[in-house]
C-alpha cells in the first residue's frame, strides 16, 4: 500500500517535475536580472493574476452594485443611486428597537449572527483544539480517528443540514432516544434556544474536522524537546498546554481563529436547510438575509444585498485585522 502510494505520488508529480525543471533556466536568467525582489514578483504573479480577475474584480463590482438600484441583474441595467442602499440598511427610527428599522430583518440577522459567531467560534476552537490534542497523542488507530473526525467535512452542507433535521425533527432520531429514555419528546427546532444551539452545534460538527486538521499540523511542528524540558521542570499538564503548546501553536491558531470567524459570519447552507432561520427569525443569519434579498425571490434587490455584504465584509476585515495584529505579536515570539 505504502509502496503503491509512493509510486502513485511519483506518477502524479513526474510531469510537474519536468515542468519545474523546464522553467528553471529562464527563471534563473530573470533572477540574475532582477534579483530576489523580482523573484518575489514571479512567485506572486500567477496567484495575483487569477486572484485579481476572479476575486478582486468581482469584489469591486460588488461594491459598485451596492450603489445601484432597481431589479436589473446586470450592471448596465441598473441605475446609480449612491449610498441609498446603505442608508436603507442602517435607517432606524429608534435604534433600541429593531422593529422600527427600515430593514428590521437585517438588524435581526446582524444580532443573531453576532451571537452565533461568539458561541460557535468558541465552541469550534475549543472542540477542534481538544480533538487535535487528542489525535496528536500516541494512540492506537490514530489514522482511523483522524478520518472519523474529518468525515463530516466531506459532506455537502445541504446533506449536513438534512441529516440533522432528520435527527432533530418532531419524530426524529433524537426524540426516539428521549422517548426511549422516558422523557417527553421535544420539537427541538421549534424552540428558540434549542434551534440556536442546533445551528451552533451542527455547524461545529460539520466543520471542526477542518480546523482540527490545521491545528494538528501545527502541533506536529512543535519540537518535542520543549515538552521534555517542561517535563523535567515538573510542569503540570495544563500549564504545559497554556504556556507551551498554545503559544507555539500561535500561527496555526491564528489561521483557525480567523477562518472560523470568517466562516462563522458567513454561515448559510446548513443552517438554511436545518432551521431555515427559524423559529421565527431567531436563527436568521446574515448570509441568509443577503441571499433572500438578493437571490431567493424573483424580485431581487441585488443592490441591497451587495450593500449588506459590503457591510458584513467591512466588519470582518476589522475583526480579522485585530486578530492578525494579535497573532503578529505572537509571531514575533515564534520559533528558535
Amino acid at each position: 500500500m505504502a509502496g503503491f502510494g509512493k509510486t502513485l505520488g511519483r506518477a502524479v508529480t513526474w510531469p510537474l517535475t519536468l515542468v519545474a525543471r523546464a522553467v528553471d533556466p529562464p527563471l534563473r536568467v530573470w533572477q540574475r536580472w532582477t534579483g530576489t525582489g523580482g523573484m518575489a514578483a514571479v512567485f506572486l504573479a500567477p496567484n495575483l493574476a487569477i486572484f485579481g480577475v476572479f476575486v478582486l474584480i468581482p469584489l469591486v463590482l460588488n461594491f459598485v452594485y451596492s450603489m445601484t438600484g432597481g431589479t436589473g441583474i446586470l450592471l448596465d441595467q441598473r441605475s446609480f443611486i449612491g449610498m441609498e442602499q446603505y442608508g436603507r440598511l442602517l435607517e432606524c427610527e429608534d435604534y433600541t428597537r429593531r422593529i422600527t428599522c427600515r430593514e428590521d430583518q437585517f438588524w435581526t440577522a446582524v444580532t443573531n449572527t453576532a451571537t452565533f459567531v461568539i458561541f460557535q467560534v468558541t465552541l469550534m476552537v475549543t472542540v477542534s483544539l481538544i480533538t487535535a490534542l487528542i489525535l496528536n497523542r500516541n494512540i492506537r488507530g490514530r489514522g482511523f480517528f483522524r478520518a472519523v473526525f474529518f468525515f463530516p467535512v466531506l459532506l455537502s452542507p445541504v446533506v449536513v443540514g438534512l441529516i440533522w433535521r432528520w435527527i432533530l425533527q418532531r419524530q426524529g432520531l433524537l426524540n426516539l432516544i428521549t422517548v426511549n429514555l422516558g422523557l417527553e419528546p421535544e420539537v427541538w427546532l421549534n424552540d428558540r434556544f434549542y434551534a440556536f444551539a442546533a445551528t451552533v452545534g451542527v455547524s461545529t460538527w460539520a466543520h471542526m474536522g477542518f480546523y482540527t486538521l490545521i491545528l494538528l499540523a501545527g502541533l506536529q511542528a512543535i519540537p518535542r524537546d520543549l515538552y521534555e524540558a517542561a517535563e523535567m521542570d515538573a510542569t503540570p499538564p495544563m500549564r504545559v498546554f497554556r504556556r507551551i503548546t498554545l503559544p507555539l501553536l500561535g500561527p496555526n491558531f491564528a489561521v483557525v481563529l480567523v477562518l472560523a470567524l470568517i466562516r462563522g459570519v458567513q454561515i448559510f447552507d446548513e443552517v438554511y436547510v436545518l432551521t431555515g432561520g427559524g423559529p421565527g427569525t431567531s436563527t436568521l443569519y446574515l448570509t441568509q438575509y443577503i441571499y433572500e434579498v438578493g437571490f431567493a425571490s424573483i424580485l431581487r434587490n441585488p443592490g441591497l444585498a451587495a450593500a449588506a455584504s459590503i457591510l458584513m465584509g467591512a466588519v470582518l476585515v476589522v475583526l480579522t485585522l485585530l486578530q492578525l495584529w494579535f497573532s503578529r505579536r505572537a509571531e514575533g515570539r515564534r520559533a528558535r
Binding site: P223, D225, L226, E228, A229, A230, E231, M232, D233, A234, T235, P236, R239, R243, I244, P247, L248, G250, A330, G332, R333, R334, A335, R336
Partner: protein, 349 residues
Amino acid sequence: MGRIVLKGITKSFGNAEVIHGIDLEIGEGELVVFVGPSGCGKSTLLRLIAGLDRPTSGRIEIDGEDVTRVSAADRGLAMVFQSYALYPHMTVRQNLSFGLENTRMPKSEIASRIDEAGRMLEIGDLMERRPTQLSGGQRQRVAIGRAIVRNPTAFLLDEPLSNLDAELRGTMRAELAQLHERLATTMIYVTHDQVEAMTLADRIVVLRKGMVEQVDTPLGLYNQPQNLFVAGFIGSPNMNFFRIRATGGSAELPGGLKVPVPCDGEVTIGIRPQNLKLAVDDAPALEGEIRLVEALGAETVIHADAVDGTPMVTVLSGQPALGAGQRIRLTFDELPHLFGTDGMRLNPH
C-alpha cells in the same frame, strides 16, 4: 540527597540495543562525567536517568528509591539539553522562572534566584530578550541557568558548554566547578571535552558502544587506563601505541629503545605524547621522521612516523625549530603503559 544507582540498564530502540547493561553508582554530591565517542550512548543514558526514556530492562534508584517507573517530572532532577530546548516564545526571564512557577515558589524568591543565576552566568542584561535574539553561547547559558535556578536533587548536563567560545567555556567551567562545590549537588555531565572532563569530574565514566569501559578519577584514568580504548581515548593528543613482540623481559621500540616488559609475547606499549621528549644525541631512542608540525604557541605538536611506520605524536613545549621531513629522536622517562593482546592493561596498579 542525590545518590543515583543504575542496575543492569539496557535500552533498545526498536531492534537495536544501544545500551548493553550498565551498572553504575553515583554518590551523593559527586560530579560524574560521561565521556565516549559520538554515538556511544551518553545522551541516551542521561535521558534514561532523567526519566525521559524508559530503560528496556534494569533499575534506576535515586536516594535508594526505585524510580524506574517514576516520570521525569517527579524525579526532581534538572537537565540541560544538548539542543538547549529553550522555550522560543518566552523571554530569558520567563524561561528561567517557568520551572520555578510550577512549584508555587513566592515571587520574590523566584526573582532573587533568577537575579543570582543571571549574575552568575552573565546573562543579566539579556533577561528581556527571546532565545531567537541570543547568540548560540548566550542560549546555552540560559539553558544552564534554567537548571540552576531549580535547585534540583541532581543536575544532568548534556554537553552544556559545547557551543561556547574558549574563553567563556573556561569561565563557565570554573563557574560550574564552583557551583558544584557550593551546592554540593550531584551532577552528571556529558562532554566531549577532555579538559572539562579532567578538571570537573570527581569520577569519569568512559563509555563505548553502550558499555562502560572504565570508571575512575580523572588522574586514575589518565595514569592507569584499564585498556587500550581508555588509554587511547583519554589524553589529547592520543596516546602513541606500539605493537611489539616482547622477548626476554623487554621489548624493543622502533629505533632501538628498550622497554622492560613483565611477560613475553605480543604487547602494546603506550606512551603519551607529552611524555616523549627529544633524546640526547647518542642515547638509544625512538626514531622517526616528522610528518607535520602543529605550532600552538605554548607547545608544538609533532606528528611523525616511526622507522617501522607506526605514527607517533609528541608534544613539545615552546616553539622548537623543527619542520616536516626532519628526522626526530625521542625518549621518555616514565614507565610506559603496557597492554596485552586482549587490550587489557598489564602494568600493576
